[in-house]
């Protein structure tokens, strides 16, 4: 039924000369649901990926479908009214897509220096040590009020790394930084296992940070 309505919207959109719509899909996890145990348990991964991220994707598609209709009718007010839903759900999709790749099984974790000497050197230069970087990251991320994310980002203009936090599902791009590593601190990311103790989740999560992926993103951003 969804396919039929998508097809009919597409044909309406095409008839009005609008560009074809793409639809967004839930990326598969790069590992088994239990791969991040005992740091992030199977139940959380199952809900986080299969429910929360999946819902962002579904809602993004629904919002974009409505947006295409509004665009076809040149209804600017309707387009503006949909921007909140696109930001929430699109941001959620972008952020979680990055997040799954930022993590890996504890046994697959390598140190930043092994993943990228250049990245490790920059961390040391800016924070003094990897530990000092993690401490600042965790302090700032634990302090996020309500729902949000902690990020290690790259500032292309300044050619420097930066720690930033964002509210809700605001993507890091809203700050001008390029995302390298994001840690979700919405309560759904940790509550079933860590309850209210967000600082403990942040302390433990470094055991599943995939520095190889962070290094790849850093290489692409700093090229």
């Amino acid at each position: 039924m969804l396919r039929q309505s998508l097809r009919s919207v597409r044909s309406v959109a095409k008839a009005h000369g609008a560009r074809a719509m793409s639809s967004y899909t839930l990326p598969p996890l790069p590992y088994e649901l239990g791969a991040l145990e005992p740091v992030v348990n199977t139940e959380i991964m199952t809900l986080h990926h299969g429910k929360h991220h999946a819902t962002y994707v579904a809602n993004l598609n629904a919002a974009m479908e409505k947006y295409a209709e509004a665009e076809a009718k040149k209804d600017v007010a309707a387009m503006i009214a949909l921007q909140g839903a696109i930001k929430f759900n699109g941001g959620g999709h972008v952020n979680h897509s990055i997040f799954w790749t930022n993590l890996c099984a504890p046994k697959d974790v390598v140190a930043p220096a092994e993943a990228s000497p250049e990245l490790a050197k920059m961390i040391d230069a800016q924070w003094g040590s990897l530990d000092a970087f993690k401490t600042e990251f965790n302090t700032k991320t634990a302090a996020v009020q309500g729902s949000g994310w902690g990020w290690l980002g790259y500032d292309k203009a300044a050619k420097k790394l930066a720690i930033a936090t964002c509210a809700n599902q605001d993507p890091l791009s809203t700050t001008g930084l390029t995302p390298l590593l994001g840690i979700d601190v919405w309560e759904h990311a940790y509550y079933l296992q860590y309850k209210n103790v967000r600082p403990e989740y942040l302390k433990q999560v470094w055991q599943v940070v995939n520095w190889k992926n962070v290094a790849e993103r850093f290489k692409a951003a700093s090229a």
Binding site: Q145, G146, K195
Partner: protein, 253 residues
């Protein structure tokens, strides 16, 4: 419900009580005496089962609510320590939330989040009771007002439910009374903001939709939590607040 009302311990009463203790014990540790305390729940931790599970109530009250209390106590101590900001600490938490713009920049976040978190959860616990009470009848003041504003009590619940499930991120859904417009309204606030930050709004009913309020039992299914919430709403308390607010509005006319 009489037991619940008897055990009510609003933040205003807490502030006054703390002040009285402070005056009586000027020779002893001023800081300790003036700290607000965590009010006990008006019912047992398992009393709202099955709508809200015991474990959630325990963590929600003893960890989250306590943490907000610790934050506001620290902020109040800081405000008390300066001559220019002492008056803000003396106002009481409910009042100081209406004066956030007068608070020094460094303390705004802890007062807003800690103070808001503290009062919001007191109101939330008091908005509920074991098994709830009957929805207001259209012949009663609150029932009449709900019908006038929303068409029916059920229509109000549907509208409230809709707002609660659509709230993105962390926040609260409210039924409030607008003192100046003399009407009820449904609203949502982000994080620990409260309608009470505005001079003219009196919160009557609060629903916490932060994930910690429901995740252990309902996981991502917020709509099931909101549906279950109606089975534990203490409408007698909501009615009482409504009539008190309306009385206050009449006095100020």
């Amino acid at each position: 419900s009489h037991r619940a009302m008897g055990l009510l311990f609003s933040s205003r009463v807490a502030a006054v009580a703390a002040l009285i203790v402070a005056i009586a014990h000027t020779c002893t540790s001023e800081v300790v005496a003036q700290n607000l305390e965590l009010p006990k729940l008006p019912y047992d931790y398992d009393a709202l089962e099955p709508a809200i599970d015991k474990e959630t109530m325990q963590i929600h009250h003893l960890k989250h609510h306590q943490a907000y209390l610790n934050t506001i106590n620290t902020a109040l101590t800081a405000l008390r320590s300066e001559e220019s900001t002492k008056y803000l600490a003396k106002m009481g938490v409910d009042e100081v939330l209406k004066h956030l713009d007068e608070i020094p920049a460094a303390l705004q976040a802890p007062v807003r989040n800690g103070g808001g978190g503290f009062v919001n959860h007191v109101l939330f616990w008091n908005s509920m009771c074991p098994n709830g009470t009957k929805v207001p009848d259209p012949s009663e003041p609150l029932g009449e007002a709900l019908v006038a504003e929303f068409g029916s009590v059920m229509a109000f619940q549907d509208a409230f439910h809709d707002k609660a499930i659509k709230l993105f991120g962390s926040g609260w859904t409210w039924l409030s009374y607008d003192l100046t417009a003399s009407k009820l309204l449904i609203s949502t606030t982000p994080n620990q903001d409260t309608p009470a930050m505005a001079a003219n709004l009196v919160p009557l009913l609060a629903l916490d939709v932060w994930e910690h309020a429901y995740y252990l039992k309902y996981q991502n299914k917020r709509m099931d939590y909101v549906t279950a919430f109606w089975t534990v709403v203490n409408w007698e308390e909501v009615s009482r607040r409504y009539q008190e607010a309306r009385g206050k509005a009449k006095q100020e006319l």
